[in-house]
Amino acid sequence: MREAIDRPTWEPNPLDFRVLGPFEVVDRAGTALDLGSRKQRAVLALLVLNAPRVVPLDQLIDQLWAGEPPSSATGTLQAYISQLRRVLEPRRGPRTPARALRTREPGYLLDIEPAQVDATRFVGDADAAQAALLRGEAAQAESLLAAALRAWRGEPLVEFTEPFARSAVIRLAEVRVTALQTRMEAWLSLGRYSEAAAEVGHFLDGDPYREGFWALLIRALYRDGRQAEALAAYQRCRTLLGEELGLDPSPELRRLERAVLEHDPALHGPWPPRATPAFTPVSAPALTTVSAPVSAPAGPRPQYGPGTGTGAGAAGAGAADVGGAAGAAEPPRLVGREPHLRRIAERLDDARCGSGGLLLVTGEAGIGKTRLADGAAELAAGRGVDVAWSRCLEGSGAPAFWPWIQVLEALRDGGDDLADLASSLTGEGDAGTGAVSGVTDPDTARFLLHDAIGRALARRAESGPLMLIIDDLHWADAASLKLLTFLGGDLHRLPLLVLVTMRPNGPDAAPPLAEALGELTRHRGTERMSVGAFTPEQVMDYLADAGADLGAETDADAVSSAVSGAVSADDVRSARVLRGTGESTIIAAHGRAGSGDRAGNGQAAPRELPYERDRALAEALHERTGGNPLFLRELLRLLASNRPARSVAADDVRSIAVPDGVRDVISQRVYRLPEDTQALLRAAAVIGKDVDADVLEAATGIGAARMMTLLEPAVATGLLAETDDGWNYRFSHALVRDALYAGLTRLQRAQIHARVGEAIESRYRGDLSSRLPVLAHHFGSAARVGGAAKAVSYATEAARQAAVHLAYDEAVLFWEQALAVLDPAGMGFAARRCSLLIELGRARRVTGDVVGGRVALDEAVALATDLGDDDAVVEAATVFGGVTLWYWRAYGVVDERMVALVEQQLRRLTPAAGALSPDGAPTGVNDVRRAELLGTLGVELYYGDRRAEGRQYTAEAVALARRIGDDLLLARTLNNYAVAAWTPDWEEDRLRAVEEILTLPRLPLAWEVIARLLRMPSLLRSGRLPEYDAELARCLRITDEIRMPEIKAQVNYAAAGRALLDGRWADVERFSGTAVTGHHRTSLWGAGAIDILCRFFFDWARGRHGVHLDELAALAADPSHRLLRPTAVLAAVEAGEEELAHRMVDQWGTRIERDWAWQFTVWQWALVATKLGRPDPEEMLAEVLPIADQFVIMGTGAVSWGAMHDVAALLLARLGRTGEAVAQAERAVALHRRLGLRHLEEGSAALLSRLRS
């Protein structure tokens, strides 16, 4: 930080880290760096020992303070880390990220080359030397070792007494001993016998219990020609072992002695004589491996050599056998865990050959470790390996040795000794029996107990390979851990695989656990495997699988209690054993023993999935939960319970609140952080899931450096993540952010929102236009604490901006927000509210929510009337006179109140009140208003008996608009006319009006579509199909550009009707499906009615009758759906239920309204008349004949049908005028054929042949 130049490129770090001896770090020039206080050096040492892997924060704290960290531990650690960074990289700029000492979840790592640590070089050299020796290159081995051993400056890390140092020391010392051994062997090969003897003798003075070195001494002495001394050495060794340890020399040594006595020539070569080379890697596994998904195994290779011959020689061939003989079952399908299961399968195969070991499966809470263990048990069962389960319980409720008690109980039938041991552990047996009777010294007693259990398990394993699964080891008691450690060392020699699941060192990682793990990872055969979160693709797979399971679960309580660790007593006692008989019981979906009989769940017939296999849903879920399976499962369950009937969509995911279980998990993690960090995290949660660091800085008022320091622990524990680009942060799961946010009181939330809003304003002053929604959101949440005014103004601006971008749905949200925060006590409240309501009503109308719009506008009208603001009243009232395709009110409804209101306003605006220019032309705003009002009134009067009057009003409005000369106004009034005049009598005028609209310049796209849609029915009716198709194509193209659900639905209806004519059934389904869905989303009238009409005629066209009769009858009974009545009767007739049809006609009558549905209704009643005789066929014929060459179309085209010639023919036939009937049918056939409408042509041809015969 003293350098003025900030180097843009990073130069390689040339530091040398030396742990073989007192800990020091030396730079390129050879000077040792000042590493600070003892604890600070300890931090660096720990990182070096694990480099370049991540050391979790908790482990750092544990190691430094030996399980009793002070409350400021995290803070102190931060200080050390920053000091170390300064020492290691003195020229790092203030805002550049650290290069060597990095932060990475869940802790820190030292990013250096392994070759920079002298211990790694040492170990590598030792390995190379051993390999060289085996190849016979003794000289090279010797030189390598000489160099390597020179690097050894003393006992490694001598100043540190912490456990990590101890285990490192032990490990490195072992490496050294082996290196020395190799060196002595090399000397023997090179002929330096006396030197070797002297060296070894010297070594043995310090460490006399190593049999290997005694063997070396004997050989060296022998080859030096000192046979007697060699034998004397053997005697010394024997005496030593016998007196001090009470042991006999091993068979190897005895054999060596015999060889010396007999002058065996084999002594001059390597000893013991080997057929094939054995290379056991010298390096033990590293202390911690957290980030790699599958860490490098310690090499459970079968060990060749005397004394351990359990099938080892056959292992090579045995592997092939295993592959064939196992007939390995398909690994169970677990999302995202395939590589883990493959590895477990490999270890199982190894175990069957006699090399077991220990598998440590680590993962955060809820990540699916137990699920993986279930999968492993299934794999084991498939390979004929017996499995014994045990689970550790949280808290102090379980007895000591609890997991082992479960294991022994499960294996009880494997022999009496196991049963005895089990009872001795539980204390149930007599005190006088068992392995530990009569021993008073507790350490000895424990040793004997461990030994007994070990031998019993070994015996059991010899009779058949065995897998033990211990779940949740982090909750195990110290006694169980000690036993596990004891057993762990022998596992690689037994066909016994132990699979342990645990959380990474948690907050209460007691010293016993840390010690046990340290020991266990040293053992050969121990392997660590970590389980990570899902990716979005895996979430999709999970949904596909989980849909069936979750749908079948009814007992949510059982699972959630299992999740939180409270398991019933029955569960605890029934540890299960699966035998490889081939009919293993199916493991329950979430692997809880004994909780309900869910056997067979996985094989149940696939239920209907409650989730669409939807990419958007999967991404929303992944975003919300961060891919954690526990969060995912809880969230899905919550969603499914909230919406059992319909399928879950992405929006539901976004709107749901955090489930309780998940919130607790998160809170635990948060409360471990320093208080200042927690406060800062809560402020960050208010900002949102993506945290802009500048805004956070400005809102809280702390400096950038301190903010980064405070957020370090949060990043290290994985709650927060740094973004790739720069200084910003992101919450790792959205649920974390939600939980933090929910932890604030409302007042705090409001205050912080206000601060954040102001921070954004000040930070991005001048560029606010892209941030309006965010500002509106923050000030809106802070409305109660003084942000109301700003909230309203930002929301208004945001709404306007959204409308400009045609994002009307968003605009509606902003208007609603503005209304919600408007301060009732402020000035001009009513007037402002009124204007906001009008905007809201208009926006809602555009998005198709006519009902919502009407609610808003009604209130606006009431307010405006109270205020006496007539202009506002007019503005509100005329929103519904806007350009529209369908009249939005329900069928047959007239709103008298609105009519009265509009008439009142019109009276106010009579021409006498408006100013007139000298030549009589109207001017001024009043005339525009008048035109709008007249148009609105005309439309409102459509369904009443004043329809004709209404039509005249709209005609007047059109004339007025023409005189004023405003094109948009003219378009609007012409549209009003088209709607108000929609009766069979005024077709031509309507058509002319619509065509005039299309000639107007600069017509908004939406209005253009509407005008075209108004025109298209007449094209279809007169059979001008190519023109219809052209218009339809253009409309479809335009609807992609504008985002109005109403219009999209209407265009799709038109397309569906057209496809129905052609007989393109797939298209009909597609279009009508889209249309109906879209229609349901708006609140326009008629979604249900038109839906059933579409379905009925669709089925009818394909020849299916009588399908929808009940539904139609039920709906049509309601007077508001009287449009459906002819269809219901038609359905009854087609289904053959003439009685019912007659009853319906009696009840409802056959009156035909001369409105927009006239032609369609006539057609249907005519069809009814041909079968039923009612309504009077003669009358119907009179109606039908004039329009016989028209094609049938309903409204703007949701349903369309062939020419009316068909029905005319039918009517004529019924009336006995067969000749005319035939003529009509012939015309139908010709017309259909000309237009290429095949299925209609067939229908008409069939009719024709029927008539002729």
Binding site: S72, D676, A679, G701, I702, G703, Q748, Q751
Partner: protein, 160 residues
């Protein structure tokens, strides 16, 4: 926590004294504020710290918690943060004089001034023998001699 001077009624007197005695560049103010309250509300606790020229000694001139927020652990929290910051900046020893002038008798009688308890709880203790020179040197490192260390009623120091 701002490392620059600001208006604060909690420390007004101490700030005035410090301004008279020593260069403001060597003084820092640490403030504990609640972000869940309006931006303009006063801080909950504040401390004024002076550092010595080489940067290895620091001196707490004043540590105060606002009246309505006492007995909530805020003082302890502020002190802990403060010590961490100073340690990260390379300070090796920190001291504080409690009681001066007339309060001397009171403190000498081991009456528990709250700040005394706070400092003792954070590991402050009487200076080790032989370190008195350091403190004396500190107090004499300005032009005028200042009598801090020797005349204070109780001098407590702590190694960082």
């Amino acid at each position: 926590m701002h490392p620059h001077l600001e208006e604060s009624t909690l420390l007004a007197a101490a700030v005035a004294d410090a301004a008279a005695e020593v260069s403001p560049a060597r003084c820092r103010m640490y403030v504990l504020a609640d972000i869940g309250r309006p931006a303009a509300s006063p801080p909950l606790a504040a401390a004024l710290v002076e550092t010595e020229k080489t940067g290895r000694l620091a001196w707490i001139r004043e540590l105060a918690v606002a009246e309505p927020f006492r007995r909530r652990g805020l003082g302890r929290r502020l002190l802990a943060d403060l010590l961490t910051e100073l340690r990260a900046d390379g300070v090796r020893e920190i001291g504080c004089a409690v009681g001066r002038g007339t309060e001397r008798e009171q403190v000498a009688a081991e009456q528990d001034l709250p700040v005394l308890a706070l400092l003792r709880g954070a590991g402050f203790g009487p200076p080790l023998p032989g370190t008195g020179e350091r403190w004396r040197a500190f107090s004499y490192d300005s032009q005028e001699t200042r009598r801090i260390a020797t005349d204070a009623a109780v001098l407590l120091t702590r190694e960082l």
